[in-house]
Subunit: 311 residues, 4 copies
């Protein structure tokens, strides 16, 4: 076979460094090995980049696929693998393939099947959550590589503001029909009043350097348990009764969800160093509006520890 | 200018009729004239097709743009225009441009700004609803042309099932704290109990032949008023209080929303002929699940009249 | 546990039959067993409906999940399963769960990983195609149940019209530099001229009754081979050279793609009965426009056979 | 009217500062006044945030709507308004409404209709581009406010690598049929060879402080003219011929597009200060792959000037 022209290796007309060059929206079947269990199968979407120096016209994008394919093949057979380590392995291999690059970046996102059991009838069901990971590796060892792992989970949120107003109305209506105040009080301690409630989406991303391990299941648990209630794909009538009741006992603004997640991250990930960066967001698809409510905190774990007074 | 080869006019390798050939996802700024007011401006997306006989390799797709551009220019200056008539005008002109076609189809969809006033503080706000229209025209006058017009509107739905269960629980809790049954009854007649509630999307499409006029504002009103409550982009605290209260007095399944819309269509569009076809659907983005609840009825107005016993 | 109120079983305020009531956007991990191989894992999205009689307020939507869960569990262990048969099994079980329903409908769609080998360097790569299936079952044996199976595949299309024009220009330019006509002719027989080319999406759905088997891999092969070229996620330089060359030797309008697919369906599925219905569509994401080009044929296999003169 | 409980003003359970709290996906009809012309009408989507101090449970989100509504009403009547100034005006007003906030952020995006005239037949057509803007305002005058404005435009890119290979093949084929090398050379100088080509999306965002004006039309022109060719919604045969020909004379990688945009930004916006930050990206929806090619440069204008040696 004759050598074909390699246009990418030419000197470009406009010599300028590029921050990132690569491929996006690459879909891959990923099998993550687990100890003593069948591997988890993920349909993942990858974005894969390297930087490009000013003297080179183009990056050889097909090498990105060689890097990812080699890593994915190994991932099936090797003992245990986290998705952020998988991204890191691809990033490191990219630096090998692209000899001109100083930095490599890999991002992946995937739907991930989790199992839930309904609260009363103990009916099993699946749900899908979104998981994602990221890695940035540098050729120069002076720069510290980074890894990110996170998830987005759908749950239910009940508005405390509307509930406060409805509670005030309930008191008024109970007085009107002649119920004495002590009984009103006793009843309202047992029975929450209506509000608007909706799908909320909680999102946590944790960025660490090097070797700290961040459990994705713990992240998912924190998100789920920071809304008014977690949701289930199958709810029999008794389950639905309990879930709606408990959600109304636990009303949450978007702000509350973010603060609760922050508090739990600081408590649960006590071993993480102060310079780990967390991004925590909550989006409520308001049932009374067409728009969404949104809250976010971006901070280092150290900052959160200080503000929350937790060591 | 020299004549370029016209490949489309060739005889194809595989002579087969095609049901539709055309362009999709064509975005256009549409100005619809109104009597005594400034024209309405819509950013619309069009799909435009003709059928293609077996002996012709391709349709001249650029003619679709000539047809639509001519009609859109006239629409600005002419007195009043409905979006389904605009589609019909384009379809008729397509039959002129594509001398080989027997049928022309035009579909459009657009976001449409409506004004709402909040229920208590009377605060004005905008909301966007989706509107759509369609027209099918035939060259042969034996075939009857068709026009469709419709809308999809977001509102709020409260689940009657969960509310029934919560009501049962409220009765139980009131008895526990010693409230007598007649006061319980009196209170519960004034105060609805909690449930899950969520964004619902109601959708109506009405297909008519020829000249019957179908008011799009009436369609939007029917959809909005068939859910538990209509939503607003701005709600001050008093508005929110009333809206949440009233929504909980008016719980609706997806099934109820569709049946209410059907009833109102039959009542409001009493002049429509029995062979008009309506498609009525409701999608609830359940706050307790990740999936949606859905109900739909497709029927002629005649069938609905008969089932509902309305003449 | 006390019996909770069953609001769905009530008589509705507006007694009207509903065409379909159910759940949409249900995500499920589906494992399809294969003879002598590991099962295929699909992340599938289901829509599941039954009809609802006028005298019933609501359908018990949680039963849809029982039906689907039972079928999915069996699917893992049973020998071989097509996705349309899986839909049919769910539909049949729905008729068992919803004793009031006369009809059940199940739709699923999924991304499906296929393997490809590049044309010259024989590099392996994965690609994702969209697959989908549908089943409609009736309680009354007089109505014939239906099954649909299909796929949508991305490939490359080269425009014959622009290529014809560029060929005319090439002839002109060759004459200008003094190349004799016989050499021009000889060269242009070996070397195709430029055109615009783009991502195209071909789509086939085949609807059958009862027991006919429709191979999904054959459908995918037909779609891929009906465009100018199939695409690959990894192409080394020699592969890219051959692929671009061959695509330009095989220019195709959207119309040509649909007709080619129709011809191949009739040839490859010669055993299908005349009343099988096929929907064949091609969408080109034109590189010279912001809009898409589209062609479609909907017909029975019998009609296609007659028009194409194939028995 | 009785005073309703103001739950948002409470002290939260977990006192933690929040980076941003607000509303997303707010759709608004925006009319931007122009000197001596009819106003431009945009259907815009806004995200609107303030920060929240640790001692406050919630932000009063309905105030965001008051802020935006007031600004939008003024925008219709006031002389000339850029979209980034509109965002800035909303951000400043938010600081007035939310007395507890130190920072306000407003983002908007919109489709914007532009007019194009085809290159040969001079046929007029519309196209839609995406425009966006952003503003960040601080209460403390020590922090400098920021404004961003940008656009994303679809065009056509021809791959230089595949074209180089096809050119090599054309030379080979011409030699085979006996065309002498000088005529080959002369012909190939006049006639570009095939390649794969596709929809590309160029994107520029420019961030400035204070009062510098950045022309959005200039940004759109730079993006369009940095790909192989700009696209048109209507092309008659002669237009298509010229456009495909010229695009093939001007092949561009994603890397080339980004570098060309960077060069033009530095040339055209010579008055911008060195600390203005530009983000320049190109995404090619490759016709030979299912994935996209991507390149990006993020830099200050000062850095670009230095690397490109332009003062």
């Amino acid at each position: 076979m004759k050598k074909l022209p390699d246009v990418q290796a030419n000197y470009p007309d406009i010599p300028l460094n590029l921050t990132r060059v690569g491929v996006t929206n690459v879909k891959k079947l990923v099998e993550v090995a687990r100890k003593g269990k069948r591997p988890i199968v993920l349909i993942s979407t990858f974005d894969i980049f390297v930087d490009l120096p000013s003297e080179r016209k183009g990056a050889n994008l097909s090498r990105n696929f060689e890097a990812i394919n080699e890593v994915l093949e190994e991932a099936v057979s090797s003992p245990i693998y986290e998705i952020e380590s998988l991204c890191e392995a691809v990033a490191n291999r990219l630096l090998g393939c692209h000899e001109y690059a100083k930095k490599a970046e890999v991002r992946m996102r995937s739907e991930y099947t989790i199992k839930r059991v309904s609260p009363v009838t103990k009916t099993s069901c699946q749900d899908m959550v979104e998981i994602f990971a990221e890695a940035v590796s540098y050729r120069d060892p002076e720069f510290r590589s980074k890894k990110v792992v996170g998830a987005e989970v759908v749950g239910m949120t009940v508005c405390p503001c509307a509930q406060g107003i409805m509670r005030a109305r309930a008191i008024e209506e109970m007085r009107k029909v002649g119920i004495p105040d002590d009984k009103i009080e006793a009843f309202l301690q047992r029975m929450p009043m209506p509000s608007h409630n909706q799908r909320g989406r909680g999102r946590i991303a944790i960025q660490v350097h090097n070797s700290e391990r961040v459990s994705l299941s713990k992240i998912i648990e924190i998100i789920e348990s920071s809304m008014s209630a977690q949701i289930y794909e199958v709810l029999k009538r008794d389950d639905e009764a309990l879930m709606v009741y408990q959600a109304h006992l636990n009303p949450k603004f978007v702000e509350d969800c973010v603060r609760t997640m922050a508090y739990k991250i600081v408590s649960e990930f006590s071993y993480l160093p102060d310079d780990a960066v967390v991004t925590i967001a909550q989006i409520n698809e308001e049932s009374i509006h067409h728009h969404n409510a949104f809250a976010e905190r971006i901070a280092t774990i150290g900052e959160l520890r200080q503000e929350l007074n937790i060591k």
